[in-house]
């Protein structure tokens, strides 16, 4: 019994619908794509108990008090204790001379910073102040830590 061999013809496959769906998917992902800037956190110490309650931590030195004054939201002056500081670069220098910058592992020992900010001071200045006292980037890109313990005094309303 002979079995006829059918001519094997090439069957054309229309790719147009697949290309349409692929473009639909691409348009979806392009529309939903967004660049996300990396974000980091500064941990702050805000205990429930008032500082006067209980025995204070003996390892902690008295906090370094930094006052940030505002003029309509903008930063008008920086006070470190009783002294006026010109800018955050100078503030960092002052903190470095107090704490010492022994390297990336330095964590400021028992030093603690307390920020007293005017109520209407823009938040970006507080972050800049925290950045100045928390550490800095060395020339080779390493982060050198200064003081890690940060807390806030009650806000001062003008």
């Amino acid at each position: 019994m002979r079995i006829k061999k059918k001519n094997l013809e090439k069957v054309p496959v229309d790719m147009t619908p697949m290309i349409d769906i692929v473009f639909q998917l691409q348009a979806f992902f392009v529309m939903t794509f967004s660049f996300v800037t990396p974000e980091g956190d500064f941990n702050i110490k805000m205990p429930l108990a008032a500082p006067s309650e209980g025995t204070p931590d003996e390892e902690l030195l008295p906090p370094i008090k930094i006052q940030l004054k505002s003029a309509g939201g903008a930063l008008s002056s920086i006070m470190m204790g009783d002294r006026s500081v010109q800018d955050f670069g100078v503030l960092r220098g002052e903190v470095m001379s107090m704490v010492g910058n022994t390297g990336p592992s330095s964590e400021g020992g028992g030093y603690e910073v307390e920020f007293a900010c005017d109520y209407d001071l823009h938040y970006e200045h507080v972050i800049a102040a925290i950045t100045a006292v928390t550490g800095y980037k060395s020339r080779d890109g390493q982060t050198v830590k200064l003081i890690e313990k940060i807390k806030f005094a009650p806000p001062q309303k003008q």
């Binding site: 692929v22 429930l48 972050i127 800095y136």
Partner: protein, 145 residues
Amino acid sequence: MPKLKSGSNEPAEIDLTPMIDMTFQLIAFFMVLLNFTKAEVDDRVKLPTSELAKPPEQPPEHPLTLQVIADGRVLFLGDPVQIENIGGYLDREKARLAAEGANPSDTLVIIRAHAKCPTGRVQDLIKACQQARFEKFALRASEKK
């Protein structure tokens, strides 16, 4: 003069395979980069920048993200709410965290505040969270480039 043969009248076939390959490459690129976890990022909050802001090596186990817009109001489910009125919302978050097995004292409250937000409003928010028994706080900033 020899007769010029007219060219073939058959339509030219364009091979679309390379174009489909490139389109698949683009789809794969955007699929890999697409981040569905945008619930914690709102365009109304422009974070201040800091050269020391780096993503934590280990993400917190039970974070609670609070977003503060420029006028000092807090965003809950996309709606701005005055800080004085967030007690109920914080109780809801505490219930949600309790369902996940977390205590308020173990929860890290991440505050994403607008750069121009008054600092006093951020401190009021921290105080409101403390009244709801939250103890750990972190101020978020975006990386300065």
